[in-house]
Each structure stands twice: as structure tokens, then as C-alpha cells.
Amino acid sequence: MIHRSSFRLTVAACALLAGPLSAATIDVAIIGEPDTFDPMVSTKDVVSIVTQHFVETLYTFDDSWSVVPLLASDMPEISEDGLTYVIPLREGVTFHDGSSMDSADVKASLDRWLEVASRGKGIADKVETVEATGPSEITITLKEPYAPLLSLLAFSNSAAAVYPEEIIAPQIDKVVGTGPYKLEAHEPDRYTQLVRFDGYTQPTGAAERAQIPDEIRFVPVPDPNTRVEGLLSGQFAYADGLSTEAYDRIAQSDAAEPVLLEPFGWPIFAINHKKGLMTDLKVRQAVQAALPFDDMMFAAFGDDKFFQTDGAMYPEGWAWHTEDGTDLYNQNDQEKAKALLQEAGYDGSPLRILTSRQYEFHYQMAEVAKMALEMAGFTVEMDVVDWATLAQNRDNPDLWDIYITHSPFLPEPALTSSFFPTAREGWNNPEKNEILDRFTSESDPEKRKAVFAELQKIIYADVGLIKVGNFNALQGKAAGLEGVTPSPWPAFWNAKLPE
């Protein structure tokens, strides 16, 4: 990254001693400190962004979110009954400790993934065996067909990461991966320094990891304004998680360009199906009928450059896009809600909305929702807490009826935990579960799309969860930076700054 010459007054003489920064260093401002370098045990995006550079999985996603091989040498051979996946492994892959990867490492890693990773544990009951069926071959046998398996193996979040068998343990203190960069140094709250791994061999399926920068440094910068200033001053080549208010300033700058992820994700009103008011379908329908999604999105994001009022679970352009069921989206009909409440025999008990100001847009949406719900006759109780409290309280179904969260659009719908009855929301509708079972066991992509349309329809009919809309996220890059594909999890192995 280009580092501009800076202050040279009182420390001018001393500054001569400062080492020059390499032009081939990419400094990236991230929103916080990754609390682990083991992506198996975390679902945090910031962990994925950093660790994907030094830890790899058998498969990954290409730019169009199709699964492609990474540590596997090819796509698996899947038996006709969909129960057996034979995965060929790439040969000559070296871990950062110098050892070679073989099927024993992959088996040990997958076994751990099924034990400790939340996404792995979620499918552990469907996996019969993971076996090393050759030095460079692994075979996964399922108890029942499960089509999202490859997507799960490809995802960098709660990742099925491959580690040397020797370091496998419930808790791994020093992660050893195979990625194009290796972890060189980590100074908490200052930087995570990655350097090019010279023993890296290119994947056969995924796009080339060209290892252009000598170093990639991830700098935790919790304050969004400081990330913007750092980007505009040239301190950072890339900045994640910027406030949309900074868009115009970045766009007008010669030093940087805005990167708009359009759309990035969807705010969600997660519903407590286990206990309380929202276990009554009529009450859920009343909430759905009352909410003015366009007003909520406008209050939250301010400018339609940053949001779309869209009821489809996946936006246009995605394979999963369908309009089925969306006639129930954005009704903004408080009279209908009132009638539904009457049918439900609503007694005025407070509807508890659990939210936080960690993400200001959550709170702003909740404020508008509160007004609309009160117009419909609800008594609304806002429980605005800090994120740590929210993260604890949402696990207790006695404490909330709705909590507000958001998610990026995930490449595979089965990665959205809220659809499953085991999630904290506990949406356990038998008809939906049957659709979900068909969706996860169907291997034909076209048939899966049709089943997903059924799933979307029942999400609206049964009000399994409430999608508020689509929102865009803002990142920023130094002017002229190339080789970084906009993504919720941007990667920097191909990043190149102009000379």
C-alpha cells in the first residue's frame, strides 16, 4: 500500500530511522479484532475475512457462488442415492509447518468439524462415516441425502477447515493452514500480519490465488469514522463496514473509491416460536400485516441508494430468487392487523422487541415498527440493550418475542439457521419441516429451486420470520486498487495497487 509522507516536525530526525513500508503491503481496516484464528469455531464474518487467507477448505465458492474445488482436486463423485461422496484430494499441498496434506489430515479435520463447528454439528446426525479411502481420497457416507453438504464444506464461516492431523484438538491454540498466506504476527488490537507462503500450490478449480501482495495486514479499527479517515488518507488500501453517510465523501475523493455491495444482506425480525405471544399464528400474522417495511428501511438507511424494499428471500439475479408468497410482504395494513389481533383474543400483553444500538439500523427499524404496531393495537415494549446482553438474552425464550438481527445473502439457503427447528427461534412447523427435508435431500438444482419457492411461501404464510428488505453495505478501496472482488468476505491475495 502506498504510505504518504507524514508529519516531520519534532520527530523528523528520528523518523529517518523508521523502516520504509513495502509498496506490496495491503493494509485492510476491519471492524474489530478476530477473537480466534480457528474459523471452525466461529461464525463471525471478521474471523472469516482474515482466516480465509491462511486456512483452506476442500471446496470454496467462485464469484457466482458456485461450489468449486480448493483442496479437493475435483468435484466429488456422488452415488446415485446421494449418500456417498468420494472426494479426490490435491497432491503436493503443503501446510505452513512444512508437512504435506493427506487424507488422514482431512479425515481428522472433518471429524473435528462435525464435533466442534456449529454448522458441522448441525449435520453430524446425517453423517454415517468420514473415511480416508486412499492417500488422496476421502469418502463421506451419509445416512440420508443432504444436498447442501458441499456448500457447507465450502463456507468460510464455521468452516470445514483442513489442519494437520497432529494439531487436531478440541481447542487449537496455534492454527496451521495451507492458504496462500501464513500468519506471521498478531498484536492484539493493533494488527494481524500475514506474509506470502512460498510453498503454496495453486488450486485446480478455484480462481488463482496470485499471492500478489508480499504482506496483508488486517488492522482492527472499531470506529467507523476512523476507518473512513484512514481510507481517505491512504493509510488503508481497503476498509470494511463503512457508514453509508460516508459514501459521498469517499466518492468525491481522489484517494479512494466507494465499494457498494448491492445488495449485501437482509435485516430480520426473528420470531420467538417457543414461548409467548408470537407462538399464536394470528398474532404473528398481525405483526406481519402491520409493519411498514418501506418506512422502516428508509428510517434505517436514509437513501434508496442503500436499500431495496423487496420481499423475496433472495434478490433478483440469484438462482434462488422467487416471488412466491411475497404478496404478504409490506402490507402496511394496521386495520387488518387489528382484526387479526381481535381474532387472536389479544389481551394487551406487551410485545417485547429485543434490540441493540450496536447496529444503529436495527434500532431505527424497531422505532418505526413500534409506532406501526401500536397503531394496530399492540402494546410494545422495546428492550434496547448492548450487544453482549442481546447475545445472551436471545438464548432465553422467556425474555423476548422478536429480536432484530441481519444476515448477508448466503450462497445456499440451507446455511440460514433460522429456517431450522433447532435454531434458537424454534420454528417447528411440521409442514415447513417436511419442505425443508425435501429441500436438503433433493440434489437436482432445478427441483431444489422449486422446493425453495415452497419454503419461501410458507415463511410468509406461517410467519416463520420477517424479512424487512434488502440493504447494501459500504466498503471502500484505495483509488486504483484492483483484484479484490466485492464480497461480505473480501479476499486480498490478488490485490494490486498502482505503482
Binding site: 504518504r4 509522507s5 507524514s6 508529519f7 519534532t10 520527530v11 528520528c14 523518523a15 529517518l16 530511522l17 523508521a18 523502516g19 513500508l21 503491503t25 493494509d27 479484532e33 477473537d35 480466534t36 469455531v41 466461529s42 461464525t43 463471525k44 474471523v47 456449529s118 454448522r119 454439528k121 491454540d173 504476527a185 498484536e187 492484539p188 488490537d189 493493533r190 494488527y191 500480519q193 495486514r217 488492522v219 482492527p220 479499527v221 472499531p222 470506529d223 469514522n225 476512523t226 479517515e229 481517505l232 488518507s233 491512504g234 493509510q235 440493550v385 448492548d386 450487544w387 453482549a388 446482553t389 447475545a391 445472551q392 438474552n393 438464548d395 438481527t405 439457521s417 433447532t422 434458537r424
Partner: protein, 313 residues
């Protein structure tokens, strides 16, 4: 004197013990669970329970407290739940930026406040005095985050004179790290200069009205000598007191300034630890802060001996 010192040091341990006991209870009374935060949004309640057990957070609070006390006596403040490093190591990493920031901002504050305070007292009632007092009030009223943001935007981003944030990368030399402290030091120095200025002016006003000052003038001493040698020396005790307290406050964490400039100091650490419910780090930080306050107070009291020979302990 040695009896006095022994008494003060014993008192320091009592203060630290009380602080850590209160801190231990308070952080656990706050809602929020570190395990939920560490595991991320898709963790199941069972995973959260498992992690709580692994971290020892499921044990009775009294057991946790006694274990903590026993370890703390041996210098072991536990392991950070978030960084997975010993708390002492985490705190040690924050010492350099925090101490240097405190020192530099104190220097900035003194350079601004002392001459203006003396001058304002000497020119009591003049427009210059009024202006200096008004400016001091203004500086005290503008929050440091606003001053910081303005400096950051215009002096760092637009003019490129200073680094915007952070404390330098892996290859940052000491000079580079110092460079990163310039803007935060000026920001904090300006904010803190107001209090020191007011104290300096008030102390000097008292002293300049004393009989011995009048006597010095009657003996034909120059005004410079009267003010700087006789008056300032005797106005020193209240000024040293406020400087000492300001220094303790700055070392223990200039929370907002460190946040704006993304400095990895004690203030940033403390805020992050509270938000992440990293109990051992919160406790460790509070112990260090208490120790700093007690030690700086002690140092201030000892400085009185140097400044005023009449003071005896």
C-alpha cells in the same frame, strides 16, 4: 518518613483489594455473556453452555472469586477470555502507548496552561486575563472526541501531516510510534490544559496577594524574579496536585481519544473488555488503574517535600 511510606503502601494494597473485589462483583452483575459473544450469532445454547463450562464461568461465583484472589496474590490475573493471553501480558502491551500518551499530553497541557495561567494571574482583571479564562473554559467545554475528529480530518487526512490512527505496523520503529501519538497528545493536552490553567491562575492569584510578595517587590526585585521565583514556587503545591491527578487519569485510559485515534492503550482495552464481557481483563485493568492512582498520589505527596521544605511526614 519510612513509617509514613509503609503506611501508604499498606493502604495501597487495601485500596487494590477493595477495587478488585468490587470489580469482580460488578462485572458479573452486568447482563451479557462472554461465551455467546465469542461463539457468534449461530451458536446454539448448548455450545454456549459448553464454552461457559470450559472457561469456568459455570462455577459458583464465590469459587470463582476465591480462585481469582488466590491467583492474583501470586501475580496471576488470569487469562483474557477474548485474546486467550495472560491478562498481565495483555496489560503490558498497552503500557507503552498509554504512558507515552499521558506524558506527552501532560507536557502539551503544561506548555499551554502554565505560562498563560501565570500571565493571566499577573494581569488580573485585564481583557487578556478575561480572554485566557474564556479560552480555557472553551477548551474544557469542547469534548476531546470533537477536537480529535477535527484534527484527524484536517491535519491528518487533508494535509497528511500526521498518521490518522493506530500505533504503527509490525515494522514500526519507536519514532514511527511517536509520530502516531502527536495528534492524540495535542488533542488531550488541549482538553486538559483548561483545568491546569485555572488552577495555576487561582494559585498564583492567592500568592501574588501575600505579604512576602509585596516585601520582595519593596526590596526592588524585578517582576520576573518576584513572579517566577517567589510566587510560582509557593503556588506549586495545588498545581502539582492537579497535575498528578491529571496524569493518573491520562495513564489509566484516555478512553475517547484512544478510540478516535485507534490507539491500543488502556482506555481502548477497558472499553473493549467491558463490551466483550472479558471479565479477567476488566478486573486486571481496574487493578492497574487503582494502583496508578495510589502511586501517583503518593508521588505527588512526596513531591510536596521537594517543593515546600516546611512539609513534613
Amino acid at each position: 518518613m519510612s513509617r509514613y511510606l509503609t503506611k501508604r503502601i499498606l493502604g495501597m494494597f487495601v485500596v487494590i483489594f477493595l477495587v478488585l473485589s468490587i470489580a469482580f462483583v460488578l462485572v458479573r452483575l452486568a447482563p451479557g455473556d462472554p461465551a455467546s459473544l465469542m461463539l457468534g450469532p449461530d451458536a446454539t445454547p448448548q455450545e454456549v453452555d459448553d464454552l461457559r463450562a470450559r472457561l469456568g464461568l459455570d462455577r459458583p461465583i464465590l469459587v470463582q472469586y476465591l480462585t481469582f484472589l488466590a491467583n492474583a496474590v501470586q501475580g496471576d490475573l488470569g487469562t483474557s477470555l477474548f485474546f486467550n493471553q495472560p491478562v498481565t501480558q495483555v496489560l503490558a502491551g498497552r503500557a507503552e502507548p498509554s504512558i507515552l500518551l499521558a506524558l506527552f499530553s501532560l507536557v502539551v497541557a503544561l506548555v499551554i496552561a502554565t505560562p498563560i495561567g501565570i500571565w493571566a494571574a499577573y494581569r488580573r482583571g485585564t481583557p487578556g486575563d478575561q480572554m485566557s479564562v474564556t479560552t480555557a473554559m472553551l477548551a474544557a467545554s469542547v469534548p476531546s472526541f470533537l477536537t480529535g475528529l477535527i484534527f484527524q480530518r484536517y491535519l491528518a487526512t487533508d494535509l497528511g501531516w500526521f498518521p490518522v490512527s493506530g500505533y504503527g505496523g509490525p515494522d514500526a520503529s519507536f519514532a514511527t510510534r511517536l509520530e502516531h501519538l502527536v495528534l492524540p497528545s495535542i488533542t488531550l493536552g488541549i482538553t486538559n490544559s483548561a483545568l491546569i490553567l485555572r488552577f495555576t491562575r487561582a494559585s498564583m492569584l492567592d500568592i501574588l496577594g501575600e505579604d512576602y510578595v509585596r516585601t520582595a517587590r519593596a526590596k526592588g526585585m524585578s517582576e520576573r524574579r518576584v513572579v517566577l521565583r517567589h510566587a510560582l514556587k509557593n503556588a506549586g503545591i495545588p498545581i502539582i496536585t492537579v497535575v498528578g491527578l491529571t496524569f493518573a487519569l491520562l495513564v489509566s485510559g484516555a478512553v475517547v481519544t484512544e478510540r478516535v485515534f485507534n490507539l491500543p492503550g488502556m482506555g481502548n482495552l477497558a472499553v473493549g473488555a467491558v463490551l466483550r464481557r472479558d471479565y479477567p481483563v476488566v478486573q486486571g485493568t481496574l487493578i492497574v488503574v487503582a494502583a496508578i492512582y495510589v502511586l501517583v498520589n503518593l508521588a505527588t505527596d512526596l513531591l510536596y517535600l521537594v517543593v515546600d521544605k516546611r512539609v513534613k511526614y
